[in-house]
């Protein structure tokens, strides 16, 4: 790991200033993705701007049929939040299935979505629930937020401040974890929402994606059997030592059916 300068701003404005003044600046949230990458010298920032002291990024609010979660809220806080449990229990469970207790205590919602790890769980929640990412300068719909492998719509110095989740009629998340890392080999969020049925898949491919065929089948009848015979193509999916593309494609179907069954 290379030496770096640490900054501890107490507002988003200060954070932006620190970032802009740095040679190669990086935001530091829970550090659960960034620090491992730095240890391998795959990222060599000269300056780290910690988000830990910015109150505006904290807190969970329920308002007007939405749950708004600050970017610096940890996975453990989402898991334990009575607001989340009451409005979107699937989201609380998803957070509670991320990594292990240490990771959940440090890792944050904002860090996870900004990092856009293809095997991360939150992307399925954002896309599956039709959430909105709130940044220091704009709002971005989840469907256009995740643009590729570790890629998002965020620009260079943009800071995620919160994610706003509409409360679904019902939703469930089924995860098939990698037995070694506990990241998702396949994770499927299924939700019946005001915007229709949404099925979002993480882990299987380079970026979270929706399965239109499943969504329309479920719109016709929100039952597990509705998904019978719907096959996801393995063509665009990951295949590696952890799981082949065919196995991942198969698991998408199994996890989707289980998520639907759990909604009942």
């Amino acid at each position: 790991m290379q030496p770096f300068q640490i900054h501890r701003p107490s507002s988003v404005a200060e954070a932006l200033a620190a970032l802009r003044g740095a040679g190669e600046g990086k935001l530091l949230a829970g550090g659960q993705s960034l620090i491992p990458v730095m240890k391998l010298d795959l990222a060599e920032p000269t300056d780290l701007v910690s988000l830990a002291g910015i109150d505006a990024l904290r807190g969970i609010r329920s308002e007007g049929g939405r749950v708004v979660i600050g970017a610096a809220v940890s996975h453990a806080e989402v898991e334990a939040s009575p607001d989340v449990a009451a409005a979107i229990p699937a989201l609380a469970r998803l957070a509670g299935a991320i990594g292990d207790a240490q990771v959940r205590n440090r890792g944050t919602l904002g860090g996870s979505v900004a990092h856009a790890d293809p095997a991360a769980d939150y992307p399925a929640a954002l896309v599956g629930l039709g959430a909105t990412v709130v940044t220091d300068r704009r709002e971005i719909g989840a469907d256009s937020f995740f643009t590729g492998l570790f890629e998002t719509a965020l620009v260079e110095d943009e800071i995620v401040t919160a994610v706003s989740f509409p409360v679904p009629e019902r939703a469930a998340y089924a995860k098939f974890p990698n037995p070694a890392s506990k990241f998702a080999i396949v994770g499927v969020m299924v939700a019946a929402t005001g915007q229709g049925v949404r099925v979002a898949v993480t882990g299987a491919g380079p970026s979270v994606f929706r399965v239109a065929e499943m969504e329309s089948a479920l719109a016709d009848g929100f039952r597990p059997e509705a998904l019978d015979g719907i096959a996801v193509s393995s063509d665009e999916l990951f295949g590696d030592g952890d799981a082949s593309a065919e196995y991942r494609a198969h698991l998408v179907g199994v996890m989707a059916r289980r998520a639907v069954a759990e909604c009942a």
Binding site: A180, A243, G253
Partner: protein
């Protein structure tokens, strides 16, 4: 039984310091003026090293030296030795290419040591290591056993044809062929024993510390056997006399075999410290552990079992290819031979056995002993083929085992593969396991699982293993280049407290407790009065260390022998004080007593007279109360038992969940039941890890794909049900404790029980075989294939 004697579940005395953070591991040690070493490791699996340019690294901040293999060669540093010599069928010696600590001209696996950078701080050394410019000219790569034996395969070593280190055999080939000729049935099975990465919790660490004033060299190292390291490194590698070399292995955070061996880094830091006149420390990063700690297992075998109509075993024929990696590690030659082929009789009366093992070099990390070392490979093969035979012949698998067990009255039993089992009762451990696992009730549980859409299976294995390495004369005949006894000193202090110095080494096993219990038991004193010292060649006369479940059976027996000498001398002192003849003095419960009288003197009083000899038979006895002993075992010990595993498989995903594990073991006399249970739990966890989760995978170019915990899957507590463990004891007949050894039984016995359970669940849906680790995808594919293809393929198209 005293409260802290043999048989008591005394809490581990060593845990206090670990729990309060006062354990002292090698990396906790920092010597004044210490420098830090970082190893430049080969990023490619096989390459000629055309040039090394260290100029930029040498100019980097804080860098004190950069050394390469050429520098070590110039100092005539020797290769890392293999401590066991194996002969091929044709009588030729195994091929033993020189293994320099830093390779001068060719790198043979990813992670091979190419250069060392030494700097004032670890960060400086690490930064500069990235600046060493090595010109690698890549060569063709071999990874698997199959690669190595392919005709015309490229060579790992130019002077080792066919990449064959040795082509060894054991058993009577003609008799075995004859047995097969008259067999009614022959069952055939191909098995792979998957390659594992040991993953001790504490990464390896070594500090070389040369004192130019005294000319003494100290090596602090994460080792299971400091004296062996002193012998190997001092004598064969660096040429330092034992009297000038001290090796200290302080608290060690787990070894599982991987810390037996003499590693390059130990020699590198010691040699560098002597060159620089300053201490030099190296600590592995976790990713280095993956690519430089010796790996385990990696066998590919074909087995054939001959049976008569009744299912009696007539003969066993085994052909194995064993991957030894790029170099022969310290025990690399012994593991796939004398710790494997000799165990192929298992618990059975198989009259004729023949086994051939071809050991091959590949461009991978050296393979050596890992918890079980050879015996898990043997037990897995036998217990898989016995189940296969039961299925093919339609004989109940428990019944087939019973029919072929060595009966209780047949001990001592000479196997056709060199070993003589002293004792055992295989029916007893089996009966216990069947009862404890409710074997009979399985059908109901399976039915219930069907209701949940799950496939449930139950599996069994009845294993035997050999521990307590080893009778030195036998080991010598088998090619060991060292004796395998153990030493102990028992020092009784003037007021009766005791210090035990043992050549065994504790790195998780709890010797500080169990050895103290032996003293407590024999001398009738509380274990608080006993201190156990280990792990320092300056304090302990000699030692062969801890591996192969030998510490209690061999090291503990040495302690008993020394205690006997103490009691014998104490008797003479007591005879003098009590004015009786020594023959009339009995020793029990901490008292020397004139037999049949109430005249007695306490152990502590005798100790006091020995050190304050005012009233003492000075003309007959020396003052002081201290004894040393070397114990050389008469035979191996043979722990055995029965493991039962129950699994549930989700047929949609292929996920295998272990739902019940029963272990019924005969580990001989138990000193501390709690510690023994703990050892069995740990072994079971590692064994289930091998069966379901762990696998070291290289790609074709020799890159380690499973080089971190992102994809090398270690089992977690949450993966297991609570283990149901218990034992049936037949005491070892030839050591004074009756102890056999327990450290490895879990990892030996359970893997075949797990796979047999998986197959028991899958055979009804048409699956015929599965290899370890039985990952979810493998199981899912097997189910799809059995269905004559199915959705897996359909989806793929």
């Amino acid at each position: 039984m005293s409260a802290t004697g043999i048989g008591a579940s005394v809490k581990r005395v060593e845990d206090h310091r670990f729990l309060i953070g006062r354990g002292r591991y090698t990396d906790d040690i920092n010597r004044p003026g210490q420098l830090f070493a970082v190893i430049v490791r080969s990023p490619v699996a096989h390459a000629r090293i055309a040039a090394i340019d260290a100029g930029e690294a040498l100019a980097a901040p804080g860098v004190v030296a950069v050394y390469t293999g050429a520098d070590m060669a110039a100092d005539e540093v020797g290769g890392l030795p293999c401590s066991w010599l194996v002969y091929s069928k044709d009588g030729s010696e195994m091929k033993e290419p020189v293994h320099p600590p830093l390779v001068p001209d060719r790198a043979r696996h990813v992670g091979d040591q190419v250069a060392v950078v030494i700097a004032e701080t670890r960060a400086q050394a690490k930064a500069a290591a990235g600046l060493v410019d090595v010109d690698y000219q890549e060569l063709p790569v071999l990874v698997t056993c199959g690669d190595a034996i392919t005709d015309g395969a490229p060579l790992v070593w130019d002077d080792v044809p066919g990449n064959t280190c040795f082509d060894w055999e054991i058993g009577d080939k003609a008799a075995t062929d004859a047995a097969f000729a008259r067999a009614d049935h022959v069952v055939r099975l191909d098995v792979v024993n998957n390659r594992l990465i040991p993953n001790a919790m504490e990464p390896r660490c070594a500090i070389g510390d040369y004192d130019p004033g005294s000319d003494l060299t100290t090596l602090y190292t994460t080792s299971q056997n400091p004296h062996v390291i002193r012998l190997l490194m001092g004598n064969f590698v660096l040429g330092i006399p034992e009297s000038k070399l001290r090796v200290v292995a302080p608290d060690v955070g787990g070894g599982f075999g991987s810390k037996i061996f003499h590693y390059a880094e130990e020699a590198i830091v010691t040699w560098a410290s002597r060159k620089l006149g300053r201490p030099v420390k190296w600590t592995a990063e976790r990713s280095e552990s993956f690519m430089s700690d010796a790996h385990g297992r990696d066998h590919v075998s074909h087995a054939e079992l001959a049976l008569d109509k009744e299912g009696t075993f007539l003969g066993l024929r085994v052909s194995t290819v064993a991957n030894v990696g790029a170099y022969l590690s310290t025990f690399g030659a012994a593991v796939p031979t004398y710790l494997y082929g000799t165990l192929l009789s298992g618990c059975y009366r198989t009259p004729a056995i023949y086994c051939e093992v071809r050991a091959v070099f590949t461009n991978t990390v050296p393979v050596d002993a890992y918890r079980g070392a050879g015996r898990p490979e043997a037990a897995y093969l036998i217990e898989r083929i016995v189940d296969e035979a039961a299925r093919e012949l339609g004989i109940d698998r428990v019944e087939l085992r019973r029919r072929n067990f060595i009966p209780v009255d047949a001990f001592p039993y000479q196997t056709p593969v060199a070993l003589e089992y002293d004792t055992g009762n295989y029916d007893a451990t089996l009966d216990r396991a069947l009862e404890a696992s409710d074997w009979q009730g399985f059908a109901v549980r399976r039915q219930q699982a069907v209701g949940r859409g799950m496939l449930r299976g139950i599996g069994i294995s009845t294993y035997v293993e050999a521990c307590g390495l080893a009778p030195s004369n036998v080991a010598g005949q088998l090619g060991a280049r060292a004796g395998l006894y153990e030493s102990a000193i028992v020092r009784v202090h003037p007021t009766g407290s005791v210090t035990v110095f043992t050549g065994s080494h504790s790195h998780g096993q709890g010797h500080e407790t169990t050895f103290a219990q032996i003293v407590s038991d024999r001398l009738g004193i509380d274990i608080e009065q006993v201190e156990v010292v280990h792990g320092d060649t300056e304090k302990i006369p000699f030692g062969m260390g801890t591996y192969g479940s030998r510490s209690l059976a061999v090291g503990g027996s040495a302690v008993v022998k020394a205690l006997d000498k103490i009691v014998e001398k104490g008797r003479k002192i007591a005879a003098h004080t009590l004015e009786a003849s020594a023959e009339d003095i009995e020793f029990a419960d901490g008292e020397f007593r004139v037999a049949g009288t109430d005249r007695a003197t306490a152990f502590a009083d005798v100790a006091f007279s020995a050190y304050v000899p005012h009233d003492y038979p000075l003309e007959e006895l020396e003052p002081g109360l201290e004894a040393s002993a070397f114990y050389d075992p008469k035979n191996f010990t043979f722990p055995a038992g029965c493991h039962v595993c129950e699994v549930e498989i989700d047929p949609e995903t292929g996920v295998v969940r272990v739902v019940a594990v029963t272990a019924s073991d005969d580990v001989g006399i138990v000193i501390n039941p709690m510690i023994v249970d703990g050892q069995i739990h740990g072994g079971l966890a590692q064994g289930i890890g091998q069966a379901l989760y762990e696998s070291c995978v290289y790609d074709e170019s020799g890159q380690l794909l499973t080089g971190s915990y992102l994809n090398y899957c270690m089992p977690r507590a949450a993966d297991f049900p609570f283990f149901n463990v218990g034992n049936h004891v037949t005491p070892c007949t030839h050591n004074p404790l009756g102890a056999k050894g327990v450290g490895e039984v879990g990892s030996i016995g359970v893997p075949p029980a797990v796979i047999n359970a998986v197959l028991d669940a899958l055979v009804p849906v048409g699956v015929t075989g599965i290899e370890m680790p039985a990952t979810s995808e493998k199981v899912w594919r097997a189910i799809c294939d059995a269905k004559g293809d199915a959705k897996g393929r359909a989806v793929a198209s």
